[in-house]
Point group: C2
Chain length 576, copies 2
């Protein structure tokens, strides 16, 4: 993983570089932060010439480490105006690593509208005009790419939403069989890719580059030990059976499940979406069976499940907790089949389920359609692809939809929609939304895992907890692994340094490895401060601080000053 | 002018205060800046509970000073996110002064949607439910108010756009005969008024409060001398004959007339809009005759003209230069009757002609309708009133429209549309747009007046010039007079201090009076810095720095560092 490919989308020029020793220090989210700070003017227009779309697999993408190979996609976010890294499963991250690619950087924008494919293999990269892909849905695009470039390639693409540069657009990825659709969904990075006229990236790993492990034997041992721990871990076993929906029942019980545009923390039809209920349905309908499949070739947890319709035909893979909640309860929709269809439509159109679910919730409250109107919601998604005026409103996300309809209750922070944890009921996530360099984004340090040890309704200690979680998330995202790997390092902290040693020969203590997370956040914060995007200026929506959330009638009450103090908190460097 | 009326739009409570000696130091724009800094959290939601709509006549509203009585309306701007003061002619400013009202402050927002009228007279104020005014066009609203409250009252209202809280909404005012419609147009303050559920304000001055002049004789003499200078001033005479359109021919000749979404600085049909041409048309059609009428009772310049249609019926009053350019050349529309109709529609719907003209230009470039399609443009304006999806897009202004359609060429700064001077061709206005506390707003220090003494294409000295002009504008806006009064103080600087002496008994040297402008800007900047709205973060659109503007093929090339240095420039305090 030493190749850095820079594509000038204006001139069409492609340059390849061998990563310098300095550059090799960075990977995944860390690499994106570094490039943004070094090369992208923080105040540039997100869809203009000076933003860059940066794609980088994490440190361990070319290893067999469980969950490794997640691909980080980043740039200046159209939604937040600040730094954005969004990572995803799918096979492309690993395939890039297999052909020795550390990063692809898309630069500048074409003078005229373009629809191109970037093809990358072990020998180089080229831009291919692909006008026939213009306006294609995601599944169509993947199918056409497979026909043209062959099976078992890595495919990355945007849908019509990204081509239209709508701020709710994400970047889609898939697996070898085109069965799943995964998304680097958040922050509007699909619009950035669209602005560069790149409809798709094809990664051809039919010829590979041998990885340069420092100590293959050590690496093999550590990888094996991580897999062993995960295999035995009861949470991981639950995830395999129930996917991320595993937590839904508890969130509903605790009362912070976003319902009808964040007006309640409990949904009367939540039972329809619980992990066991959905797993049973999948089994009954002859879907993927009892257990999930990996969203990424390396994964031993395998929480991803194919959800079939009543006739057993694939509807969507996979049904993630956040997607289900934003498109279901948050829109007052209680039927899992409808939600699966909505999720599939988001995937097809190329939009973030969270952002668009929140936008539809706002539109429903504004009376565009009524809460619970699944047909209407599906129509809205189709309208995004059609580029109707209403489609463009919804497709630009929750903040935009709120402005269009003069709404007072818009659940966004730093311009980005809140994920499936109401910050009034899970205050740790309120801290996260308010302080994260990523805006409202649970993946930057989800406090859900703390609900058993810390009262989610209490404001005590939440800022400190969030600081810890954010540091860990930044490290995880730079490693290119899934958050669900954490039991391994909690159980055996030494594995962390050993991984870096085996792969790169670096001698990092646990503390030093952990510190990577701090450095990532420092870089990201530097970019955001220069862009004018910080917790000082972008605050919790006023209704979250004033309107009590049923059933606990809680408001978000952590003082602003305490939130702003998060950067000064010194964390115990020995805790994962 | 000692009464301060505070209206809590949530509780309905109205409280009146006598201005303290400290409060009396502030008026107009200065008073608004002071209230914003003291009372409004800079990061609050512009349409939420914590923003305030502040209405304040200037220092000299209760005198006969020529052009005095302009009303300043302000608050945190939805468009810029920063401080906003927008002032206007019409009779309400003077009438408020006549009943001793220094300021009205609308606070909080109603819990449910409301349509109310605030009635103010010499004895007090009251809120009146007015559901029958909901959704009414501006002229309908004025007519109904006149029927209900009697003739010769001061009327202030919003149109459907403000009720819908669209960011392009302004606040409308009129004269005693409802002949003219004037606007505190910019910054989206109509949406702020709409958020407070106040459809209209009625000022009843049938009973007056005697003004407390310090030295009536001195005041009378100064007022007389100002009027005399203005009467003899050749520029003022031109304005009386040709209105503000007087400058259009020269702007076109110099090549910075925004044309077809700021893609050229000259328009092939500009001749149709020149001052003499339009004045001739008005005369031929039997409009208001050779000369204009005052937009405000005190004015001796009288640049406002009633523009009649082909049958001699009033179409709009008045046709301002900026409105004509944004709705005409900037939309590729060359027919003055069509532009007058568009202007009238803006007035009826309740939107800023500049913001919406720019938004339509962006939409035209995006292909929504073609450039030059006047019927299409009129339809867009009607759609704003109807609240269609497209109407809501356009009605939210140029930046919003640009995002909806993924546009790369959006002429805004600090989120607000640029007025009728392309910053590439009149670089002094580029400096203004980039550095003003008001965002892109010519009224904050229009450099047009310098084109004869400074090459508008040169970047030399423009920042310094703009600093001077911005200080003067801040003073003028606090005095509640029109910029066109300036010949009086240039000819006889002593008149400035004498005015303050005669009215208030203050001993201000010219330099000290002038310094009010500096203090206003300092306060406004303080608010904006805390709101995260500054020239550091909100910059000239990239296309303005890169795309040459025909015919001179100029780009905006004043370095960012030089722009940011504007606040450190010490000005000669003796120049007006």
């Amino acid at each position: 993983m030493r190749r850095i490919i820079r594509v000038n989308t204006r001139t069409g020029e492609i340059r390849e570089f061998e990563a310098t020793p300095e550059e090799r220090r960075y990977a995944g989210r860390y690499y994106i932060a570094k490039v943004l700070v070094d090369e992208v003017p923080p105040t540039c227009e997100p869809l203009g010439r000076y933003n860059k779309l940066i794609i980088s697999s994490g440190y361990f993408a070319d290893t067999n480490l469980s969950t490794s190979g997640r691909i980080s996609i980043g740039g200046k976010s159209p939604l937040t105006g600040g730094v954005k890294e969004s990572n995803s499963g799918g096979n492309a991250g690993k395939k890039l690593a297999r052909i020795g690619v550390k990063a692809i950087i898309l630069e500048d924008i074409p003078e005229r509208e373009q629809t191109r494919v970037l093809y990358v293999n072990a020998d180089g990269a080229k831009l291919i005009d692909a006008p026939h892909l213009k306006g294609r849905l995601v599944s169509e695009t993947f199918e056409i790419l497979r026909k043209e470039f062959g099976e078992r390639k890595g495919f990355i693409c945007i849908g019509p939403a990204g081509e239209m540069r709508l701020y709710g657009a994400g970047v889609a990825l898939t697996d070898d069989r085109l069965e799943q659709v995964r998304y680097a969904a958040r922050g509007g990075l699909g619009a950035v890719m669209g602005s560069k006229g790149i409809k798709a990236i094809v990664v051809d790993d039919s010829k590979v580059v041998e990885p340069d492990y420092h100590d293959p034997k050590l690496l093999r041992e550590v990888v094996k030990e991580v897999a062993r721990i995960l295999l035995e871990d009861p949470k991981s076993q639950n995830r395999r059976r129930y996917g991320t929906l595993d937590i839904l029942e508890m969130v509903n019980r605790l009362g912070f499940l976003p319902t009808r545009n964040f007006s309640s923390g409990q949904f009367e039809f939540a039972d329809n979406f619980t992990g066991p209920r959905v797993a049973k349905l999948i089994e009954e309908r002859g879907g993927c069976g009892k257990n999930g499949t990996p969203c990424i070739p390396s994964c031993t947890i395998m929480c991803s499940k194919v959800f079939p319709d009543k006739d057993g035909r694939k509807l969507v893979a996979t049904l993630q907790y956040e997607s289900v909640v934003l498109l279901g309860p948050n829109c007052g929709i209680g039927d899992v089949d409808e939600v699966a269809e909505l999720n599939n439509l988001c995937n097809e159109v190329g939009v973030d389920t969270i952002e668009i679910g929140a936008a539809i919730g706002v539109a429903m409250e504004a009376g565009v359609i009524r809460f619970g109107d699944a047909q209407g919601a599906k129509d809205l998604l189709r309208q995004i692809a059609q580029g109707t005026y209403l489609g463009r409103i919804i497709g630009n996300g929750a903040a935009f939809t709120g402005q269009a309809f003069g709404s007072r209750r818009v659940p966004v922070l730093k311009g980005q929609a809140m994920p499936a944890y109401d910050p009034r009921g899970l205050k740790g996530n309120g801290v996260l939304y308010a302080t994260s360099t990523m805006g409202a984004d649970h993946t930057a340090g989800n406090a859900f895992e703390t609900v058993r040890t810390h009262d989610p309704l209490s404001r005590e200690g939440q800022v400190r907890i969030s600081r810890q979680l954010q540091i860990r998330a930044a490290l995880i995202d730079s490693m290119g692994v899934c958050l669900f790997i954490r039991p391994a390092f909690i159980k055996n902290p030494d594995l962390l340094g050993a991984l870096f040693k085996g792969r790169y020969g670096w001698d990092l203590s646990f503390k030093e490895a952990k510190h990577i997370g701090v450095e990532v956040l420092d870089l990201e914060r530097k970019f955001n401060e220069m862009a004018g995007v910080s917790e000082r200026f972008k605050r919790m929506p006023e209704f979250m601080r004033e309107e009590p959330l049923p059933p606990h009638n809680a408001v978000f009450d952590i003082p602003q000053e305490e939130l702003e103090g998060i950067w000064d908190i010194e964390m115990d460097p020995n805790v994962f």
